[in-house]
Structures are given as C-alpha cells and as structure tokens.
C-alpha cells in the first residue's frame, strides 16, 4: 500500500492528489509544509482533498502523505476552559507558536501533553469493564469532575489500574488481554458516539430568559433554531443562553462568525461568573472559534468537532448545551466546497445532501442513557442566518423540519429596541405539553394556565392591532382598549428583558411566575373595575401599572413586588369606590 503521493491540481481549498491510496475522510498531510486536509472524494488513482489551511503557493508535484486516520478529536481532561479552532487546535497555543496571525503548517495537540491530572480510580483489579464504563475520575475544574470513560469499542478485565498524577497520554489501566487505556481517547468527529438508549426529553432547560422559559421552553436534550436576519439580536440571545442555561457543560461553536465578536466572547466568558457556583463560566465551557476569514474547510469541520466534545461529556452523564452560531455559515462552507468540487448543485447552489447533513447533525442531540448507565443530554441550539431575512431559503426550511423549538427573532422588534427581539406570534415550542407536569411540580400548578392566558392576550392584541391600524385605538370599545393595555404590559414588562442590566439579565423561574402573575392580576382587577363602572381613563392612570414596569430591575424583587401588590389592592378599591 502506497502512502505517499503527490499534488496534481490546486483550486482554492480543494486539492486533487494522485498516486495515494486513500479511504474516504482520511486525514492527509499536503505539501512540503504538511498542511492538514481530509479526503472527500476518490476517482481512479486521484483523491480530492479539502485542505484546512490556506493553499497559496502550493505547487503540483509536492508530496502528500496519508495518516490513515479520519479527522478525530482528542477527548480527555483539559477540554474545559479550552479555546479551539475548527480542528481542535488550541488558539492560545497557536498564538504562542505563530504570533497574532494564523499562519499555516502548524499542528498542535488538542489536549496538553504536559499537564498532570490527579486520577482517582473507581474500579479495581479483576473488574470487568465494557465500552463507555467509568473507570475513574479527575477533578477537571473546581466544580466539574471528569469521569474517565472506557473507549466505546473496548472491553475486558482489568489487570492493573493506577492512581495518582498522570499526563493524559500515560497508561492508567491495563487489561488482561494486554490492552492499555489512557485518560485521553480519540474519536472521529463525523461518527456519533454510541449510547445505550435514547430517551424522551422531559425537563426544561432553564435559561433565565423570560420569553424562552416562560412562553417557548426547550427541553434538555431538545433542539432549537434561532433564525435571525442580521441585526436582530441573535448573537446576544445566544450568548445569554450560553451564560445562563442550567446545563453543566456548555459548548459554544462560533462558526464563520465575526472576529471581533468572537474576541468579545473569548474575553467576556472568562470574566462571567456562573450564577450557581460563583466560579468563572469558562470552567464549564469549551469554545470553538472559527471566524469567517479562517479556512473554509475548517469551518465545515468545526460543527462536528463541537458536537463530538459535547457527546463525550454527555456520555459521562452530564447535561450539555451546544450553541452553533451559525449553522448557515456551516452550510455555506459546504456549498463553497461543493462548488469547488463542481458537484451538481441543489437549491440555491447548496449541495443536494444539505438536508441530510443538517438532520444528521441535529440527531446527535437528545437525552440518552449513556453506555455507563447514567443519563445525559445534549441540547442543540442552532442559529440560522437566512439571507435577506427570508425564511423560505433552504437552510431555514430544512432546519425547521427537524427542530422542535423555533425562536423567531424579528428585526422589526430589534429596531424598536424590544429585546430579546423574539417574535411571540411566530415562535413555537413543541415541548410545552411534555413539560407541563414539570412546571406543575416545580413552579406552580397555575403556571400553565397563566402562560396560556398571556399567549391568548397577545394573540388577541395582534388581531386588535389590525383594527387599530385602521380606526385608531380610541374607537375601540373600552374593554378592548384594556386588553391592548394588558397585552402591552406583557410585552414590555415581561417579555422585554435587558441582557446588560445586572439584575434583569437573569430571571429565575419563580420570579417569572410572580411577575407574570402580578401583571395578569392587575389585568383581572382592571377588568373587574371596568365592569364595576370605573372609567377606562382612570384605570389607565394607575400608578401601580407604571410601578410594575420597573419592578423587574429591583434587586429586592420580592419586597418591591409585595409593596406594589398591596398598593394595587388599595388603588382598585378606591377605583371601585368612585
């Protein structure tokens, strides 16, 4: 078998090589600089390779070497707090070895080979182990314990197991058949890691964002899409999710996004404290950053790199949330490579396999029983950036066929500075029913009804707005004027949330419930007063109504709300007295 060939043709990131024996998805080292590439097509003795680095200056005839391995990531202690590019090269290491600009031909290990980790075994000599079993633990960061797993395709009886400080590539366990296990394992990114069983999601992912938790919840293990025309606040929404969602591990993939925004994430994340532990958020985060001007093939790979890391933590029994920003950039990378390959294009130039790739990716989400017996989940939140805000384009459409939750960002709302600018009429969640029992038990049995009432009011508002557009609001009957006012309160007081306000940025479920209840109870009281003969003008002048607008910003929310509720009673008593 020949594992040395040469370059035949170069066209951008696509290189055709000849005389090399390859398998599909083998990683090859291209040219004298050994640029990393992946085989994506074979014809005769020629193979087509997508190269993950800049190809300028590469010449036909330069040597190519096959590593015989498919594109893999290194899994083990040290993933958390890391910042990787699309092919798991740590960006800080790249900066050290080649300066401020990303040059090429530099390889770097995904996991540090220097650092030692304190390994505590949980199995002993003579134990039988199977793929996916936990053989020990490492305190990876202060609050996250990494459970060291047996690679999925390995099983046997333990001959020897070590304890103490080791590097990731040291042998910590030997099996009777001579197999040696390290803390680190490799896994090909394009292949989902096996699980013992897929489960149905039943608990919500709490994000602290009122419109999400309150109206359009996603389950742990669910999938959501955020389509947003540019300028609709998509990035802020995703960053809020990464910061606040109550999963143990966060994987954030910046796929083809802006350098400055990525820098902001890289700067901000280490500063943000996890609300529950008070520790830096980075300690439970893996960041993957492949900006729009980094090589396009690595962008294509970044999404797979991210989800494989997420699966690894899921297999330990953790709840993982994965944000992919943006899957449109990923699809565009596919399109670009596909067009370089001169493949027959499908819709809008995207390859015909676009739908299949998208669904394969989202299918890697889910709540599962891992091989080790624990339950874990991956919640995937994918951003799509429809060109021109046109939701009928192929990426949005193919994504919507798969995901269960749709948070429709709306540029119009953003222009009015209604943030998060998620349109309450176009969004949906297919999990509301399945999560009902959870809300009954953990929030309040009233919650589901409260939410449905609020949604109904918002729906009614949009119908009334059409009339108002024609005749003006004064022409409406009084009770409908009041409906409009209550709906406005729901929008402005409840749905609007300021991501940059120290208090308002995170709103616990209990506060959401109380706030919504207070607004709705103002509404009920106002309706009663109106029926009791009070004038709508007087009701509109209510001071507690204006107080409710600002209560969400209060540090002492419960106290402040208590005061408002009390004076609300007094106010309406007076109104009735009139």
């Amino acid at each position: 078998m020949k594992n040395k060939g040469e370059i035949y043709r170069i066209s951008g990131p696509v290189v055709i090589i000849s005389g090399l024996n390859t398998k599909m998805y083998d990683v090859v080292k291209v040219g004298t600089e050994g640029l990393m590439g992946e085989v994506i097509g074979i014809e005769g003795d020629k193979s087509t390779v997508q190269v993950y680095e800049e190809t300028s200056g590469l010449k036909p005839g330069e040597p190519v070497e096959n590593t015989g391995m498919s594109l893999s990531v290194e899994l083990g202690p040290g993933l958390l707090e890391s910042i990787y590019d699309g092919i798991q090269r740590p960006l800080p290491v790249l900066k050290e070895s080649m300066g401020d600009f990303i040059k090429r031909g530099v390889s770097a290990n995904g996991l540090s080979r220097e650092k030692e980790w304190d390994f505590v075994p949980t199995v002993k000599k003579g134990d039988k182990i199977n793929g996916g079993d936990i053989i020990g633990t490492v305190q990876e960061t202060q609050n996250i314990e990494q459970r060291i797993l047996v690679p999925p395709n390995v099983s046997g009886t333990i001959k020897e197991i070590m304890k103490g400080k080791f590097k990731v590539d040291a042998v910590i366990c030997t099996l009777t058949d001579g197999k040696e296990l390290m803390m680190m394992q490799k896994w090909p990114v394009r292949k989902p890691r096996p699980v013992s069983k897929k489960l149905t999601p039943s608990t919500p992912l709490i994000t602290g964002q009122r419109i999400l938790d309150g109206l359009f919840p996603i389950a742990k293990g669910g999938t959501a899409a955020i389509p947003g025309p540019f300028g609709s606040g998509k990035t802020v929404t995703q960053q809020q999710l990464a910061k606040w969602s109550d999963t143990e591990i966060v994987v954030y993939i910046g796929c083809g996004e802006r350098g400055n925004e990525m820098a902001d994430v890289l700067y901000e994340f280490p500063e943000i404290k996890d609300p529950k532990t008070g520790r830096p958020l980075m300690e439970r985060t893996v960041l993957i950053a492949n900006t729009s001007n980094m090589p396009v093939a690595a962008r294509e790979a970044s999404v797979y790199t991210g989800i494989t890391i997420a699966e690894y933590y899921r297999d330990m029994g953790y709840d993982v949330s994965l944000m992919a920003d943006s899957t449109s950039r990923w699809a565009e990378a596919m399109r670009e490579i596909s067009s370089r390959l001169e493949e027959m294009p499908g819709e809008e130039g995207y390859p015909a396999y676009l739908a299949a790739r998208l669904s394969e990716f989202y299918e890697r989400a889910g709540k599962v029983k891992a091989l080790c017996g624990k339950e874990g989940s991956i919640t995937v939140i994918g951003a799509v950036s429809p060109p021109g805000g046109d939701f009928s384009e192929p990426i949005t459409q193919n994504t919507l066929r798969i995901v269960k939750v749709f948070w429709a960002l709306d540029a119009k709302l953003a222009q009015r500075r209604h943030f998060p600018s998620i349109n309450w009429l176009n969004s949906y969640s297919l999990y509301t029913k399945a999560l009902g029992p959870w809300y009954d038990e953990h929030v309040s049995p009233d919650w589901v009804k409260l939410r449905n009432d609020a949604m109904e009011l918002l729906q009614k508002e949009s119908e009334l707005q059409e009339i108002v557009q024609l005749v003006g609001s004064d022409a409406l009957p009084e009770d409908q004027q009041l409906t409009l006012e209550i709906a406005r309160m729901i929008r402005e007081y409840f749905l609007q949330q300021n991501a940059y306000h120290e208090v308002d940025t995170y709103c616990p479920m209990e506060k959401q419930f109380k706030l919504m209840k207070a607004i709705m109870s103002w509404g009920d009281k106002a309706q009663n007063a109106l029926e009791g003969g009070a004038a709508v003008e007087d009701i509109m002048k209510s001071k507690t109504k204006d107080d409710l607008a600002k209560v969400k910003y209060e540090k002492e929310f419960d106290t402040a709300l208590g005061v408002i509720l009390k004076s609300m009673d007094e106010e309406f008593a007076k109104l009735r007295g009139k």
Partner: protein
C-alpha cells in the same frame, strides 16, 4: 530569470490557460509580455500539471497565443514603508502621482492571514464622528467595520468624508492615518475625494489607491487587499490608528461575479459566486485591534445597494460580516435632511462596549434606546395618520408623532461641517425626549431621569 512560456492555449475573458508548464504555485503572481513589448500582470487561479489558469489584472485586450508568460514564483506582495503616507497609487499599487517608486522596508503578502481570535482585543474605544445619528445611536469604535449602506444619488461620499475629517478618539493624540481605496468609482467622484483630502490637509496622512470605473475590473479584486495590507502595516508596525475607506463594495462584488462567470463556476444567488461570503469576510475581517499592539484598523466601507434593496446579496452578506451598518435613507434625503441616516435599520454591534459611564456617559444607552423606541413608534403613527387623520389620534399618540418630526429635524439634521461632541448629541436627545410624557420613558432608569431630564435639571438648579 524564470522561464518564459509561449504556451497559451486559450484566452477567455480575463483568463488565460497556459499549458505544459513546470509546477506552478497556487495564487502565484504572473508577468505576461505582449508581442509589442508591453507587460501585464496576473495571478494563478487554478494549477495542475496539465494546465494553469491565470487571471490577468489589466484585462486580456491585445493578448494572443504568442505572448510570453513568466511565473514569478511568489504570491502578490505590496512593497510597504512609512513613505506610503501621502502617496496616490493605482489600483494595482503603481504610483500615479508622478512620485518615485516606494523604497520598501518590507514586502507583504496582500492576502493577509486571519487574526487569531485569541489575539484580538475586543474593540471598545469610542470614536467620536461628530454626527449625532452615529455617535448617539450607532456608535463607532476603534477596530470596528461599519459600512454605509447607501443607494445611487445619495450623499454617502459627503458622509464618509465628514467622518474622515471629524473622527477622533476623545482625549487622545495618537497618530492616525486614512487609507482610501477606490474600486470602480468614477473619475469625478475620485476627484471629489482628492480635493477634499487636499483641502483639509488629510492627504499627508493618507494612502490612496485608485481603481477607477474605466480601469480593468479584475484589478478591483486586488485593490482593497493592497489597501488593507498598507493599513495593517501602518497600524501594527507603526502604531497608527488607521481608518480604511473602501468604496464601492458593490463594484468589487460585480468584479467577483465577472470572474466567477469567466471561470464558468456554478453561480449562487443572483449569479454571485457561492464563495462571496468568504471572500468578503477576507476583506472585512481585516479590521481590529490586537493585544499588545498600539495601532488599530477601522473600516468604513461604502456600499451602494442595487435598487435600494437591503436584501440584495451584497448588502445582505456584508451585513452578516460587518459589525452593523449605517443605512442612508432616500426618504430623508428627499425631505432635504442631511445626513439622511435612517437610524431604524442602522446598527452598531459594538456600540455597547464603546459607551457608558467611563467611555461616553452613563445614560447614553438608555437615551439611545428610548430615542429608537419613540422614533419607531412615531414613524408607525405616520402610517395611521395617513388613513384616519391627525385628529383621530390620542394625545399620547400625537406627542409621539410630533416627536418623530422633531427628531428628524433636530437630531438627524446637521450641517456637513457641524462637529457635535457626544454631550451635545445627548443633550439634544434629552431635549427631544422631554417633549414626551415622563411616564412614557420606560427605557430609562429613574436615576438617569432624575439626573439628566431637562425638567428635573431645571428644578435642581432653582
């Protein structure tokens, strides 16, 4: 001396196909000698042992199969030195001002490598442009890329020049420079820019690259890269704060499409190549600030939207890469308002990190949000008034309607030499907001209302 080939097999549009070469590097620079002795330059687009595809920058006019082709063995480089400042160069980097060739301190690849995101510093230094709609509501910061989305017949050039004249970081006297790259603009427009640079003395601190409308379209593909290479050099080697003005991105994209068609590539949306996003990103992303380096590159590009259509692929893809956009409105322009910036679809994504107590003023964000919200509401009401008449509005609504008119007249409108500092901008904002009922100012924290609202301010002074 490298080998000269006389093996051109095919000439198609701006492309030549050369046979039987020794291995030629991808993206390599190519010199072509015509039978009459003139030379042209080109770049390798596709290379294999059988055939090499070269795009010719100056166009293929006059070429035949007898031409000699030399591969230089290196990719395109720009000779750089501090002497670039004050020079006017062609779109291919040759001196146009009659001055000597640049004596290079270094020769840099014009493709430019991507900045490692980890090496970037998040941009946060507020740049005061003196234009209220930008400073107040779409704040520009150092290292940002903020294009102007405009249309034909709108005063985007005036606005760009006003920004180039007035832009400064407050309280700092750090060296700055302007790099101006014209891509396919008319001679008249170029003259207009040059005159203004000369009038204000900005030319001394500027590097100008001119590819005019009658210059070869292919050259437009390298002009912005030359400009950005010069900008990066001045910023990162000479610690300067560089403002790059690229005009017009639309012409650049047209050239890209032309090349794609010549290469018989599978076209994407509206015939633009599928890699246009990545290609544009390789320009726009060359803005930023790097940890440990003093200089910065800020981009202010002009993009004319074909048919004023913001969903057209060029503005659309740009909007996904740049950190916001300043949208010029034909409606405001018709009303005679300068600068006709429509704040509603405009956006600066980096605004929040550039404003606030330590950078501009603590109430900046709140005032901006409130102005946005109130103006949006007022504008909506205009539609309603057209149907039901002003009299049918409630008092509250009438106030918002009036607010929208005043906002356009007082806040948006300003002179082309009027340089408003941020305090002036914010106080105009407050004066306008004071016309609304105080209870309607829901976006503003009460403590700022107490401190800055003209009514409360007046009370305190009494």
């Amino acid at each position: 001396m490298t080998k000269e080939y006389k093996t051109i097999n095919q000439i198609a549009g701006p492309l030549i196909f050369v046979e039987k070469t020794e291995p030629v590097g991808y993206n390599e620079l190519v010199n072509i000698t015509l039978p009459d002795g003139t030379t042209k330059r080109g770049q390798v687009l596709d290379t294999s042992n059988d055939i090499v595809v070269v795009q010719v920058f100056e166009g293929t006019g006059g070429l035949n199969r007898e031409c000699g082709v030399r591969f230089t063995g290196e990719t395109i480089k720009l000779p750089v030195s501090k002497d670039l400042l004050g020079r006017i160069l062609s779109g291919a980097g040759e001196p146009l001002d009659g001055g000597p060739r640049i004596v290079p301190e270094d020769r840099l690849e014009i493709t430019g490598a991507a900045i490692n995101p980890y090496a970037r510093l998040p941009p946060k230094d507020f740049i005061q442009t003196g234009i209220s709609t930008i400073d107040g509501m779409n704040t520009l910061v150092r290292g940002q890329k903020l294009p102007i989305f405009s249309g034909s017949g709108l005063p985007h050039n005036e606005i760009a020049l006003q920004i180039a004249r007035q832009a400064k970081v407050r309280g700092s006297n750090e060296p700055f420079a302007v790099v101006f790259a014209a891509m396919g603009i008319t001679n008249e427009e170029a003259q207009y820019f040059m005159r203004d640079f000369e009038r204000t003395g900005a030319l001394e601190r500027a590097v100008v690259f001119l590819n005019l409308a009658d210059d070869p379209a292919v050259e437009r593909l390298i002009t912005p890269r030359l400009a950005l290479t010069a900008a990066e050099y001045l910023a990162y080697e000479h610690d300067m704060h560089v403002l790059v003005i690229l005009t017009d991105i639309t012409n650049y994209c047209e050239a890209l499409r032309q090349m794609g068609a010549a290469r018989e590539e599978v076209p994407g949306r509206r015939g633009y190549p599928g890699y246009m996003y990545t290609d544009l990103a390789s320009l726009y992303e060359r803005a930023g600030v790097i940890k440990g380096r003093k200089g910065s590159v800020t981009q202010f590009s002009i993009l004319s939207m074909p048919g004023d259509d913001i969903t057209h692929p060029i503005p659309d893809l740009s909007g996904y890469i740049t950190e916001g956009q300043i949208v010029i409105s034909r409606e405001l322009h018709r009303k005679g308002i300068y600068p006709p910036v429509n704040v509603l679809p405009s956006l600066s994504r980096l605004m929040n990190s550039g404003i606030g107590a330590t950078r501009t003023r603590e109430d900046h964000k709140a005032v901006s949000d409130q102005l946005y919200a109130a103006y949006a509401e007022g504008k909506d009401l205009r539609g309603l008034v057209a149907i039901v008449g002003k009299d049918a509005l409630s008092d509250r609504d009438r106030k918002f309607l009036e607010f929208a008119d005043m906002f356009e007249d007082k806040f948006v409108r300003q002179g082309d030499d009027e340089n408003r500092d941020i305090e002036t901008t914010l106080s105009i904002g407050w004066d306008l907001l004071a016309e609304l009922p105080e209870a309607q100012l829901t976006r503003i924290d009460n403590k700022y209302i107490q401190k800055y609202h003209p009514a409360h301010k007046a009370q305190k002074q009494e």
